[in-house]
């Protein structure tokens, strides 16, 4: 089990638990505001953009090339940006904190 906390653009803190699937799917399933997942998780829509808490980047790893490319011209992009449909849930993610980029 991994506990993952989402901080929404309205500053709401939502902590959810899961042991598999993508972080996007977990957020959508629980109605986390700002994570829409319109393309169903295939890196085509960029509606699952989060900022990983800087000290948690080692848990998630860096954004892949396609994520970086999709976000390159996004106003909210920074070095901690990920498209969370590309983050698979494992136990290693336990304690992860993500801010919804909106």
């Amino acid at each position: 089990m991994a506990k993952i906390t989402f901080i929404t653009t309205d500053d709401e803190n939502i902590t959810l638990e899961a042991d598999s699937g993508s972080v996007m799917a977990l957020a959508v399933e629980n109605g986390v505001q700002g994570i829409d997942g319109d393309c169903g998780g295939v890196c085509s829509c960029a509606t699952c953009h989060v900022h990983v808490k800087p000290e948690h980047m080692s848990k998630t790893g860096d954004a892949s090339e396609i994520e970086q490319d999709m976000l390159e011209l996004d106003d909210n992009v920074n070095e901690f940006s990920r498209l969370c449909c590309q983050i698979e849930i494992t136990e290693d993610l336990d304690g992860l904190e993500l801010t919804v980029a909106g």
């Binding site: 699937g21 169903g40 295939v42 490319d69 011209l73």
Partner: protein
């Protein structure tokens, strides 16, 4: 404004209808929201049906637009397996297949489209012949494929759905033949270079894609079919998938007296000619300000974005639909991302990235105006293209096709 007496009824609970319902709550709608859909399955993503969902063993629950709980939490009344039979715009009511009548304050038609089944002799009596639009279609196709020893699949129609289905069925171990009537696949939607690319891609992956194949009839002995083409060629098939386009579900709107064109015409806020009735998604015929013409789109982007506009308008906000269309397709290891509308182009530039086989982009221009970009395994081209189409800055075409010039907007502005 809204109160508990008000009811927004939505016909069709798929990408457009479901997103509308949730967007309405977000906009502050306090009245009831009642969704109806003929499909008994919890609303799901359609694009994966021909892609990852077809090849995986996932259940549809992995593929839902929203969880079952979310509807309850947002107080959205979801009625599945119930069809809307009639609309009466004179007294603001609808009737449903379960015999009930419901009153609406606002009505949203999000009925989308259904597969077009061509009038080919023998098609109705063919064995294991299916369209691909619903989760149930996928179950039927998979079941038929598993039950077959020879796994010979014929796909009628070389559009995106046909080609994606071909790639997925190949992955499932089938022997796949695609029959396309036109001279090239994807003829309606892309330039010849893209058609050639996909034709080759399928050949490399062992899928036979044949063009100028006009299916004339299908014969069946109850277990296997023979697909006959006008040129006399024949293709045996254990499973046939029909992907030759769609018909828009406009019958309800028509019967309600709403005037129709290529779909249901709506204004910039997705309103039909009746002030209490909206139409969104695949069934709507709307004006695109960027291209200055009326269009009907079949895409998730359009369904979602138009849903948000309609929701805001129902909540009496002054909104206007103005987005750039985008779309994607996944086949084998190729991800195609498209932005804009290429129709009307008179010039094409291709940028091939160095040393990478399947990584390039096709840029469609009308004179010097960039209309659209098709990006193959190249998200950068897709986002840079989006920026240029939106901004309208002139693009340095020599630099654009020079793969040594780094792909950054600043490098490409004249």
């Amino acid at each position: 404004m809204a109160n508990n007496q008000q009811n927004c009824i939505v016909i069709g609970a798929s990408h457009a209808g479901v997103n509308l319902a949730f967007a309405l709550r977000k906009e502050g709608w306090e009245g009831a929201i009642t969704l109806f859909d003929t499909d008994p399955t919890l609303p799901y993503h359609r694009p994966p049906l021909s892609k990852a969902y077809l090849t995986s063993d996932d259940r549809i629950e992995k593929n839902l637009l929203k969880s079952a709980d979310s509807y309850q939490k947002q107080d959205i009344d979801l009625n599945l397996g119930v069809s809307v039979s009639t609309i009466s715009s004179t007294d603001n009511t609808i009737t449903t297949s379960d015999g009930n009548t419901h009153h609406y304050t606002k009505l949203v038609i999000a009925t989308g489209a259904r597969p077009f089944i061509p009038p080919i002799p023998g098609l109705k009596t063919a064995t294991n012949l299916y369209p691909l639009r619903t989760a149930a279609d996928v179950t039927n196709i998979k079941t038929a494929l598993h039950a077959s020893d020879t796994k010979r699949v014929v796909i009628i129609g070389g559009g995106y759905i046909g080609l994606e289905t071909a790639a997925s069925m190949k992955k499932l171990g089938a022997t796949v033949t695609v029959l396309e009537r036109e001279e090239r696949i994807l003829a309606r939607v892309t330039a010849p270079v893209m058609s050639e690319f996909f034709q080759k891609l399928h050949a490399e992956n062992g899928v036979e894609v044949l063009t100028q194949k006009d299916v004339s009839n299908i014969t069946s002995d109850g277990a296997q079919n023979i697909v006959h083409c006008a040129d006399g060629s024949q293709y045996p098939a254990d499973v046939i998938v029909v992907g030759v386009g769609i018909r828009v579900n406009t019958e309800l709107a028509d019967a309600a007296g709403i005037k129709l064109e290529n779909g249901i015409p709506v204004d910039e806020a997705a309103r039909t000619s009746d002030k209490d009735i909206y139409a969104i998604g695949d069934c709507s015929f709307h004006f695109n300000p960027h291209y200055g013409r009326n269009i009907r789109l079949e895409s998730v982007q359009n369904a979602v974005d138009q849903a948000k506009i309609a929701a805001a308008s129902i909540c009496e906000k002054d909104v206007s639909y103005d987005t750039l269309p985008w779309f994607w397709s996944d086949q084998y290891d190729v991800k195609l991302q498209m932005v804009g509308l290429s129709q009307g182009y008179n010039k094409i530039l291709v940028r091939q990235e160095p040393d990478e086989g399947h990584k390039f982009s096709v840029w469609y221009f009308k004179d010097n105006t960039l209309l659209a970009v098709d990006a193959v395994n190249n998200a950068k081209a897709y986002v840079v293209g989006t920026k240029f189409i939106k901004g309208g800055d002139p693009i340095d075409q020599t630099k654009l096709v020079d793969p040594n010039v780094e792909f950054k907007p600043a490098n490409l502005i004249i």
